[in-house]
Amino acid sequence: MSAFGPLVRVTLRGLMGRRRLLLMVLLVALPVALALLVRLAGGGRNDASPILDNLIVRTVLPLVALVLGTAALGSEIDDGTIVHLLVKPIARHWIIIATAVVAAGLTALLVVPSVVLTGLLVSGTGSTSLHTTFAFAVAVLLGGTAYTTAFLALSTVTSRALVIGLVYTLIWEGVLSGLLEGTKFLSIRQATLGVAAALGGARPGLQPLEPAISFVILIVVTAGALLIATRQLARFEVRGGD
């Protein structure tokens, strides 16, 4: 597929806008900076999982994935440049896969180092600490991919993807999934924590989802989102004009 490389490059150029990138870097640097302050204040602890969950899995990860996932294709749809990609003899799934690879890759590139640095700063380099940090890094990689592709698909369905994604993250995942047991199965965050727990990064006091269910949820969300986005793009119709 000779168009895959150019699709990846143009998506990357589109997402690497100076302001957006700066905002994302500041966001992922926040947990690291807080961990550094904790470390300098002598407040290091054995278990980094509560901090990694609260600061990164709950906040930074969905926000970064939301911004990058909705902008990857959504900004092209909004400004009309998507037409230049669509009037090419390219199967629509390649456009979606290339866009998802870039958005998910950038999300991982930004958030995984943040997990690693935060984990190391908070709990040091003991074997248990390293194990927990590694577990969260892998979980964030998988969870970030699921979040990003879900938000990418959302941007092909509605022009209000950013707002809806924010509501999902803050209201559904932030409030409801903690109160109502059944909603856990519809939470990417819960599945991410389930993966972390399965790899040895269980957060004390929390009842994570079963490892198999967590993996299945993330795979189903990612694959389903790619399918929905491809279907939406294949049926895409331009707006406006006379």
Partner: protein, 326 residues
């Protein structure tokens, strides 16, 4: 005139079974409609286009862009079929090997330079040597000097040319242009017109929309007139004008003896008016063909030499005004 006029080639006799293969029109719309809820944007439009430049004319909101979007596979027809070189336009990315589209909206990736934009299009089209194709397209649209500047710094006319370069990189056989002259200065317009004429002469099918009649008159071999979503007329506008039998043709005539010629003409049944105004003879007729046959015969019979015979209301503007106001 109630029925649109079909281009002559489209109504050619079909080839016999053992003869040459039938001609597949580059673009063919068959009873195409498109509606949004209760609003009908395009209403039962049928036509076929072959090589040459065709102007798509219509007032604002007539349905020009909707038609172009339907032809470029970016809109699903609510009814009817749109074919590009024999393939259904909707949901078939393979048609884009044949199509080059210049959309009306100015949007071009602002972070790419003009050359990078052309290169991206060449790469996505899968052309054999994308760099060479991009350079050639940039040269063709006369954008070499600004090729390395981000398109965000371009003027409207430059962005139009960048989009055209992007649409030309794969040398499409069908070119669809939505208001392509918007924002161009007179020199750029002339350059673009020359370019499109040359492409049409090379056998390409070019359809461009415009609401500027002068552009269409200068460039198009034939026209499609849309009004309120319907196809009001199609074909050469002079032929369309001749079919408007309910609207008299007027001619300005200069001869060796205008007064005697007027007297001779007024006796002819094809002529229903002749007047001398400020020393000029103006003749009205309802039958274009009969008049143009009768005039030289009558002049010769009266021993009068004709110096000039010029239609005065056969302009595209008068045809267009008639079609959209009736």
């Amino acid at each position: 005139m109630t029925e649109p006029v079909a281009p002559a080639w489209a109504t050619a006799t079909p080839a016999v079974a053992d003869g040459p293969p039938p001609i597949v029109p580059a673009l063919q719309l068959d009873h195409v409609s498109r509606w949004y809820g209760n609003v009908v944007a395009v209403n039962d439009v049928s036509f076929a286009l072959g090589p040459g430049v065709t102007g798509l004319l219509g007032p604002n909101g007539a349905g020009k862009s909707t038609l172009l979007h339907l032809m470029s596979g970016l809109l699903r027809p609510s009814a009817g079929t749109v074919m590009v070189r024999g393939r259904t336009a909707w949901r078939d990315p393979a048609i884009y090997r044949d199509i080059g589209l210049v959309p009306e909206k100015e949007a071009v990736h602002p972070y790419l330079t003009g050359y990078e934009f052309a290169l991206l299009n060449a790469q996505l089209q899968g052309v054999a040597d994308p760099k060479a194709a991009a350079r050639k397209a940039i040269e063709t649209v006369d954008l070499v000097d600004a090729a390395d500047r981000p398109t965000a710094t371009y003027s409207k006319g430059m962005r139009q040319r960048a989009k055209l370069a992007g649409a030309l990189v794969h040398e499409p056989t069908v070119l669809l242009l939505d208001e392509p002259f918007n924002g161009m200065d007179p020199r750029q317009r002339l350059h673009m017109m020359d370019l499109l004429r040359a492409m049409a002469a090379a056998g390409r099918t070019i359809l461009f929309s415009s609401h500027i009649l002068e552009e269409v008159e200068r460039l198009a071999d034939s026209i499609l007139v849309v009004h309120d979503g319907r196809l009001a007329a199609a074909g050469d506008y002079r032929s369309i004008r001749r079919l408007m039998t309910d609207r008299p043709h007027t001619f300005r005539v200069r001869s060796t003896d205008d007064r005697r010629l007027a007297a001779a003409l007024i006796a002819d049944p094809a002529v229903f008016g002749a007047e001398l105004l400020d020393g000029r003879l103006s003749v009205s007729t309802s039958d274009y063909a009969a008049f143009t046959h009768a005039l030289p015969r009558l002049a010769a019979a009266a021993g009068i030499t004709l110096h000039e015979v010029a239609p005065t209301n056969d302009s595209l503007e008068s045809v267009f005004s008639y079609l959209v106001r009736r």
